[in-house]
């Protein structure tokens, strides 16, 4: 539903958009019904000459069911949404598919520092590539990220991936994504982190294999080779 507004560029973006669409349909139905009945009642029972009000307590069975049946149906909708929400949540946040690459993302006032493996493919080796505010990844590879913060709470947000995760000082939070589309996209900080919060933007470059291999070769520190 959102792809008209904003690109879907990760493997789970479609699931999240599907969930948002499902919720929209269910609550949209209740919303239109409730507002429709509401305005109709205001019109139907407006004060006018010859019209008088009725005395109803709400205990009459034939009237009470107009509340009780919707009540039960709302509960049913809730159950459907809960199941769908937990299903999507499981895919995005609880499940951790095996990684092709592991990278480290560190937030600090007010920049993103990305550490990714050099040509050896291993993180935390001397040939790691460090970049600031710009992350290059390869399309159709699964990335696990280790998210950390150096000072205050930041939030690593990539809207086209539908990815968002707080970076909390003192913790390392693991997450994942799998880019499905090449291009250059925004990285945001989504948690107020001080006066430079608005300039804590980064860019995410999703490349095909050839370009990414070339980029890694070019940027692997020479001293380590």
């Amino acid at each position: 539903m959102l792809h008209g507004l904003i690109t879907e560029a990760s493997s789970f973006a479609g699931s999240i958009d599907w969930l948002i669409f499902l919720v929209l349909v269910l609550v949209g139905f209740w919303f239109i019904l409730a507002e429709g009945v509401f305005f109709w009642l205001i019109f139907r029972f407006r004060s006018r000459p010859g019209h008088t009000g009725q005395y109803l307590t709400g205990k009459e069975k034939h009237i009470k069911r107009w509340i009780n049946i919707p009540h039960a149906l709302v509960l049913v909708c809730d159950v459907v949404i809960v199941i769908a929400a937990i299903h999507v949540w499981y895919i995005v946040k609880m499940d951790l598919p095996p990684a092709d690459y592991t990278i480290r993302v560190t937030g600090q006032q007010w920049a993103w520092v990305f550490q990714q493996p050099g040509e050896d493919g291993q993180l935390d080796t001397p040939d790691d590539i460090f970049t600031t505010d710009s992350l290059h990844v390869e399309v159709n590879k699964t990335y696990q990220f280790l998210l950390e913060s150096r000072d205050v709470i930041h939030d690593f947000s990539v809207p086209v991936f539908r990815l968002k995760q707080d970076a909390v000082p003192g913790r390392t939070i693991t997450g994942w994504f799998r880019p499905t589309k090449t291009g250059t996209f925004d990285v945001q900080c989504a948690k107020l982190c001080g006066i430079g919060h608005g300039v804590m933007e980064g860019s995410l470059v999703v490349e095909d294999q050839a370009h990414h291999t070339a980029w890694v070769a070019k940027n692997t520190p020479a001293a380590a080779q």
Partner: protein
């Protein structure tokens, strides 16, 4: 007997106070009369609403026309921008919604609606306002100290809020915290009063289910507040120590945990939503019953849904923290409880809508506001489902979608609910009728622009626009949305302009509006059985009301008129 003699002693006190109490302006500053204290809260709250509204105007102008000088303010720096959004959020919740909906309406209406001559603890009541006033002075002065006002959002997450090296506002952030803590003290004192007064000072004959919804809702809200505020109060002291005494409760480098604050904050923060919602619902229900000339559809159902909402609200707090680094499995539990809360809230809306069925609906200004509350709050309610569903919140969290969602709850609560109550009880409070035409211009001039401010913000949120960002020019994906931001800002300016009609109406009606009779709306509840405005002590001592029936007996088949005041013998 004890009750009777207490009442006599109180009556005596009223009599002596009139002769020996403070005179002149001091009479108003030092009064223990619940109506005067209500007015103090009301006008302080309205003043703060103007401050909060002005802040919104300044930062919306910055968002629509970034880097341009804002008329009446000047250039907005990033630090000022953060201070403005923090101030707007804190002020609108703690210094507008709370004082107006709970303290002002609670103080004014609880004694009058239950037939008491005053609150049971008039001096605690006075102290409550004085502490509240102190908190107002602290929060306002915090905006002008060296370094500027606190800019860490109304949620005040550490380490940003705990360490001046990070927030750059050493004085502002401590003063913000002190002001909030003082405000909590004021509302604890007020809450004690509301709860005790409703329990002990009801008119003879008023049983639990004869109490109108406004006192019930304010008292349930006060109980929720008292149960939830303790942990945050402790948290506020710990944060204050972290700021000023070098402790490390929330500092991970010294064994603390910043996420602990989030738990303490939201354990209060979520019930707080219902603390302000319930009084507004009470006001809306009383108005809807009166102007639909209709008995409330399911008095007990409504009361129980309010209690159920209140109880559930203690088990949903972590839905604010789905992506805050908590164990992802925990999100599942909070998704379930959060979606469950939609059941009592939906029931509440259904009951109010069903009350219209079979009515004889008069669309006077207070009724327009009350109906607008229902129509708009539904949008706030249904959009909450997107955010309660963890899988969707993983994307929508901290976007403008959240912002638009809670403005569709808080605006109906704090602004629409207040205007509903104010226009409904204005004749009682000031003894004059308000002008209907000006009232309707103000109503439509507020409601229509309101939707044009916040519906666009839903779109911005779905498009991935984050909150609390000073300038979106840095984000290539968000640049094409500038016209939407400008639309929202222009709508805000239009809405603020139409508030002039409200002030014009109030001042004009106050000075030369037609005199209000005792019961201009032909309502049933007890506040309409005394003079407008009510005298000190509310009723003459020998004419205190007795209660013979529930508050919503409209169009009763046994009676010729379409209303049946609670105090009329059968």
């Amino acid at each position: 007997m004890a009750h009777a003699s207490a009442t006599e002693a109180h009556a005596h006190e009223h009599a002596t106070q009139e002769h020996h109490g403070p005179q002149g302006i001091l009479k108003y500053l030092w009064s223990t009369d619940h109506k005067v204290i209500a007015m103090q809260y009301l006008f302080t709250g309205m003043f703060m609403a103007m401050v909060g509204g002005f802040m919104a105007y300044v930062f919306r102008m910055q968002l629509a026309f970034p880097g341009k000088s804002v008329p009446l303010f000047g250039y907005v720096s990033p630090g000022e921008y953060n201070a403005l959004i923090t101030g707007h959020g804190s002020i609108m919740i703690f210094w507008v919604a709370m004082p107006v909906l709970i303290a002002a309406f609670g103080n004014y209406l609880i004694p009058l609606m239950i037939g008491a001559d005053d609150m049971v603890f008039p001096r605690i009541n006075r102290l409550s306002y004085q502490i509240f006033l102190l908190s107002v002075l602290v929060i306002l002065s915090s905006l002008f100290v060296k370094g500027g006002g606190f800019g860490g959002a109304w949620t005040s997450y550490p380490p940003l809020s705990a360490n001046a090296d990070y927030n750059l506002t050493p004085l502002g952030s401590s003063m913000w915290l002190v002001a909030v803590a003082l405000e909590f003290v004021a509302f604890l004192l007020g809450g004690i009063n509301f709860i005790t007064t409703l329990m002990n000072a009801r008119a003879p004959g008023m049983k639990a289910y004869d109490i109108p919804m406004v006192p019930w809702m304010i008292v349930i809200a006060s109980i929720l507040f008292m149960l939830s505020v303790g942990p945050l109060f402790a948290g506020a002291i710990m944060l204050f120590f972290d700021q000023n005494l070098g402790t490390g409760f929330f500092d991970p480098t010294r064994g603390g945990d910043p996420v602990l604050w989030q738990h303490l904050f939201w354990f209060f923060g979520h019930p707080e939503v219902y603390v302000v919602l319930l009084p507004a619902v009470g006001i809306v229900i009383d108005i809807v019953a009166t102007f639909a000339r209709k008995k409330l559809f399911g008095y007990k159902t409504l009361l129980y849904t309010a209690v159920a909402t209140g109880v559930l609200s203690f088990f949903v707090w972590a839905h604010h923290q789905f992506i805050a680094g908590i164990d992802p499995r925990m999100a599942n539990i909070f998704t379930v409880t959060t979606l469950l809360i939609s059941v009592p809230i939906a029931e509440m809306c259904f009951v109010i809508i069903a009350t219209l069925y079979g009515g004889d609906i008069r669309l006077k200004v207070p009724m327009l506001w009350a109906l607008a509350f229902v129509g708009e709050f539904l949008i706030g309610g249904v959009t909450g489902i997107f955010l309660g569903a963890s899988g969707a919140d993983a994307y929508l969290h901290e976007t403008y979608f959240v912002l638009a969602h809670f403005h569709y709850t808080f605006f109906p609560i704090a602004i629409i609910g207040t205007f509903a109550g104010f226009t409904y009880w204005f004749p009682k409070m000031f003894g004059r009728m308000m002008n209907e035409t000006l009232g309707k211009i103000h109503f439509w001039g507020t409601i229509i622009p309101f939707n044009f401010i916040f519906i666009p913000l839903f779109v911005l949120g779905l498009d991935g626009q984050q909150r609390r960002i000073y300038n979106f020019q840095n984000f290539p994906e968000l640049q094409h949305l500038q016209p939407v931001r400008i639309l929202a800002t222009i709508s805000l300016v239009v809405m603020l302009f139409f508030q002039l009609f409200f002030f014009w109406n109030v001042i004009r009606s106050w000075r030369k509006g037609p005199k209000a009779e005792k019961n201009p709306w032909k309502s049933n509840t007890l506040e309409w059985t005394t003079e407008s405005p009510p005298p000190h002590g509310n009723w003459p001592v020998d004419e205190m009301p007795k209660v013979y029936r529930g508050p919503y007996e409209y169009n009763h088949p046994d009676r010729e008129e379409d209303y049946w005041p609670q105090n009329l013998p059968a």
